[in-house]
């Protein structure tokens, strides 16, 4: 699958192994982080509804989801440390880039992390202990804010990997036969110190909010599916209440994600990374060629030409093997399943919110019945695959570079795509070796941690009959 024809074959193997480990780890961390962001939001919304409607059901839900979010936060934070040390050990030279350029979001993330880790236990431990309910709600809101602020900063870093922020300078010192401590040939700096704030430029904000909304959609879809399954079997009023809030929430967020943020994100890829665009849209040709559909979506005409994937040399193209996965993950998973999620959540929202109107029509009952019966399975599946599709598209589409930038070609060819390569001399630890047993062990841990978090949530939420035990509190 080769990143550079100049690299030995063993290095390409190590790169693939390292990418697989990182990809699984990041997806697992994303699942935990998304679960935390989604469930703490549910807790805060539920407590708000309790305070405004004085409905005990919402109090119970808020309390339960605050504990569930804490479980996901705890395991997710530990997993974040695992991912962080994955950077130190596998992509070691990324550390120098952090220090010389992209440190600001990491630095600000510390404050976000402190907010979460201190306020979240306070929120969970003070249910029923703070006399003024609104004060308790504000604590929860601040804890949730810490979580979203944390995500904001980390997504700013991820945005910079795909789109080099304005003012960032990437120099390849290899031309002058120089290295930094013999580790990397790439030096990343800013044109001036205050450009460090450009980590949060408007393009990064589109990327960031696209990611944050995706996290909330995923979790709310999963929770909606669980409640929908329960409601189909038990028809409890508290389940109906939750569905009337969560499913419209999914529908609204999915609409914003697709029509506003997704559109802007596409415009950014079109503008800043034509090679990624070619790879994810499946434009597998060489030279310029008309793509009528993309032309219409991007420019409102049918005759705009685009550079095909094979217009660029092999050593800068994102890998497609073992199959043409990028268009499948982008068009198949992210776009198509995202649309289907919107259809399911939108249809069910109309049914639950305007039931009096739609229940008069037989066709509406048939459609609603179909959506309700299939929703517990399709909604989480669509949301999960759309999220994975988006993450893979974004991260694999920029390979073999980070801090990607394209500039016009001087000889009339396709735009030049540059960045810091992930291979030797760029990001990867030159001392790295990954024996099979180590890869297997890391993957087991990467998969087991989210599974254990889910198991702990199951232990907490399942109905149980406990033996009386004596527990003395401190």
């Amino acid at each position: 699958m080769g990143y550079s024809p100049l690299l030995p074959i063993t290095w390409n193997v190590i790169l693939d192994e390292a990418r697989w480990l990182s990809a699984i780890g990041i997806l697992a961390h994303l699942s935990l982080a998304s679960s935390f962001l989604g469930t703490i939001l549910i807790a805060v919304v539920a407590e708000f509804l309790y305070l405004t409607r004085h409905d005990k059901d919402w109090y119970d839900k808020a309390r339960m989801f605050s504990v569930v979010s804490t479980i996901f936060f705890g395991v997710g934070a530990a997993f974040g440390t695992l991912v962080e040390f994955g950077l130190v050990t596998i992509w070691s030279n990324f550390i120098t880039i952090i220090g010389s350029a992209i440190v600001l979001p990491f630095y600000l993330e510390l404050f976000a992390f402190l907010t979460e880790v201190i306020l979240l236990p306070l929120y969970v431990f003070t249910w029923g202990k703070v006399r003024n309910g609104w004060v308790h709600w504000v604590i929860g809101l601040a804890a949730a804010f810490g979580g979203y602020w944390s995500a904001y900063n980390i997504l700013a870093v991820m945005a910079s990997l795909s789109m080099r922020p304005p003012g960032m300078i990437v120099q390849n010192l290899a031309a002058s036969n120089q290295t930094i401590a013999g580790l990397t040939s790439y030096l990343v700096t800013w044109a001036k110190p205050t450009d460090a704030w450009n980590m949060f430029w408007w393009g990064a904000n589109v990327f960031i909010f696209h990611g944050i909304l995706a996290a909330a959609i995923l979790t709310w879809s999963v929770v909606s599916a669980i409640y929908l399954y329960g409601y189909m079997h038990e028809h409890r009023p508290d389940q109906a209440k939750v569905l009337k809030v969560l499913i419209p929430g999914v529908a609204i967020m999915t609409a914003i994600e697709g029509f506003v943020l997704g559109h802007d994100q596409g415009e950014l890829v079109l503008q800043f990374d034509p090679l990624k665009l070619a790879a994810i849209e499946g434009m597998f040709w060489k030279g310029l060629k008309v793509d009528p559909l993309l032309s219409f979506l991007a420019y409102g005409t049918f005759n705009h030409t685009f550079w095909g994937y094979y217009s660029w040399p092999a050593n800068v193209r994102p890998p497609l093997a073992p199959f043409d996965f990028l268009p499948i993950f982008y068009l198949g998973f992210m776009v198509t399943l995202g649309v289907l999620l919107g259809v399911w959540s939108g249809g069910l929202s109309l049914w639950y919110l305007f039931n009096g109107f739609f229940s008069r029509f037989h066709w509406a009952k048939v459609i609603a019945s179909f959506l309700e019966r299939t929703g517990p399975y399709t909604m989480p599946l669509f949301a999960a695959l759309a999220s994975i599709g988006g993450a893979v598209t974004s991260e694999s589409g920029r390979v073999p570079f980070i801090l990607v930038e394209s500039s016009p070609s001087l000889n009339g060819g396709p735009p030049m795509v540059t960045g810091v390569p992930i291979y030797e001399g760029g990001l990867i630890n030159p001392n790295l070796s990954l024996p099979g047993w180590l890869i297997a062990l890391i993957i087991v841990v990467e998969v087991a941690m989210p599974a254990l978090a889910v198991y702990m949530v199951y232990l907490y939420t399942r109905p149980r009959r406990e033996k009386p035990t004596q527990v003395v509190e401190y």
Partner: protein, 417 residues
């Protein structure tokens, strides 16, 4: 404008001084809880198990907050000393990898499982989970203390001149030799026993305070067990600290000079300028000895008499001693991030000349590893000092909030019991 070195050292020292007492407590609890359970099942005395169950409520919270401060340390290291952290990552990657996979990725779910499975698993299974948790928690200091030993004495490092490198040399490492670092075994054992001792003393203090008012069996047992653990492991800690100081004296001249207040006797006077520490911390060393003696005396008295003032003093002085000893050990390296060994200095002078050896030594100092010319955070702070000032206010606020939350959680849970 404050010196960047002072800012860097202060921020890292602050993060460590909050991080370490918390992770010491986690390590200590990791071993104490299954042991208390075991004692309970062996003796048929339920109170042991109740104490373990009560304490397990706090394990995850302490671990999570300690872990956050560990992340803060990492971000400070990457942001302020990027080249140093990069080199540490490249050279010592298996050590970081093992620490994180076993010590974090496996330990945390085990802590959760241990807590959630109280009274849901059979006693033997639950105790097994507890000891598995303790072993995986011990992997963290087992690996990280190797890094601390490495900055005392970088055993196994090979230095090769390189005109292409901006440092003038490249580094490689023989990990087997790294493991043979003489400062490593005493440091690790002192950490382990110190953590158990500190946790035991904290346990005895809290229970002793309560026992002074309530006189019930539960607090009497917690107080007694905590005192015995604190005393036994405190003595073991002292023995290994003495061994550690001996190895540091032999192998890490800057650290020994800073702690003892004078250069080691074997150091040639021609090397005095090279190895002179920035701080003379002998006052801190003697203060720690006095603190240790006071705590020992308090423990002995506490075994005979239970009084609130004694328990309060134990509760305050023990983490203070731990923090003071750790900060002293960390600051004693300054001006170096990694102290160059005397034998290496001699060998480099012999092989490549004095100026090369001095260049290597220069690149091992904190001021050089800050790489101010390419350090984005330092550059930003130099033109926007309000960012640093605001950060310090924010950190101070969160320190206060953290102490309040710990107090509030303890008092609220007590009032609801």
């Amino acid at each position: 404008m404050v010196s960047p070195v002072v800012v860097t050292v202060a921020l890292i020292a602050w993060a460590f001084s909050v991080h370490l007492p918390l992770v010491y407590t986690v390590l200590g609890l990791g071993w104490l809880l299954p042991t208390l359970e075991l004692l309970g099942y062996r003796s048929g005395r339920r109170t042991y198990i109740d104490i373990a169950h009560g304490l397990s409520n706090y394990l995850i919270a302490v671990y999570a907050i300690g872990g956050v401060f560990g992340t803060i340390v990492t971000v400070f290291l990457a942001g302020l000393l990027p080249v140093f952290t990069n080199i540490a990552g490249v050279l010592l990657w298996p050590i970081w990898g093992i620490a994180i996979v076993f010590g974090v990725a496996i330990a945390l779910p085990l802590i959760g499982l241990y807590y959630r499975s109280f009274n849901r698993l059979s006693p033997i299974k639950h105790i097994t989970v507890g000891y598995a948790m303790a072993i995986t928690l011990t992997v963290i200091p087992a690996m990280f203390r190797l890094v601390f030993a490495f900055i005392n004495y970088p055993a196994g490092v090979l230095i090769t001149p390189s005109s292409a490198s901006n440092t003038g040399f490249t580094l490689s490492v023989n990990l087997t030799e790294t493991l043979s670092n003489p400062t490593y075994p005493p440091l690790l054992l002192a950490t382990l026993f110190g953590a158990i001792a500190m946790t035991g003393i904290l346990l005895s203090s809290i229970h002793g305070w309560r026992y002074a008012s309530s006189r019930d069996e539960y607090h009497e047992l917690g107080h007694r067990v905590g005192n015995i653990v604190g005393l036994t492991f405190g003595i073991l800690y002292s023995i290994f600290v003495i061994w550690y100081l001996y190895t540091v004296y032999q192998y890490s001249p800057t650290v020994a000079w800073s702690i003892l207040g004078h250069p080691p006797s074997y150091l040639p006077s021609t090397f005095y300028d090279l190895y002179k520490p920035t701080f003379n911390l002998s006052w801190m060393f003697y203060m720690n000895i006095v603190l240790g003696a006071i705590i020992l005396a308090l423990l002995v008295v506490s075994i005979k008499v239970t009084s609130k003032p004694i328990e309060a003093l134990k509760l305050i002085l023990t983490p203070m001693l731990m923090d003071s000893a750790e900060v002293m050990n960390g600051l004693a390296h300054v001006p170096y991030a990694i102290v160059p060994p005397v034998t290496a200095a001699e060998a480099l002078i012999k092989a490549y000349g004095l100026s090369f050896a001095l260049n290597v030594a220069k690149w091992l100092t904190i001021s050089q590893l800050l790489t101010p010319q390419i350090n984005a955070l330092l550059s930003l702070v130099s033109v926007q000092p309000g960012l640093l000032l605001g950060s310090l206010v924010f950190f101070a606020f969160f320190n206060a909030l953290l102490l309040y939350v710990i107090y509030a959680v303890l008092s609220w849970r007590r009032s609801s019991a």
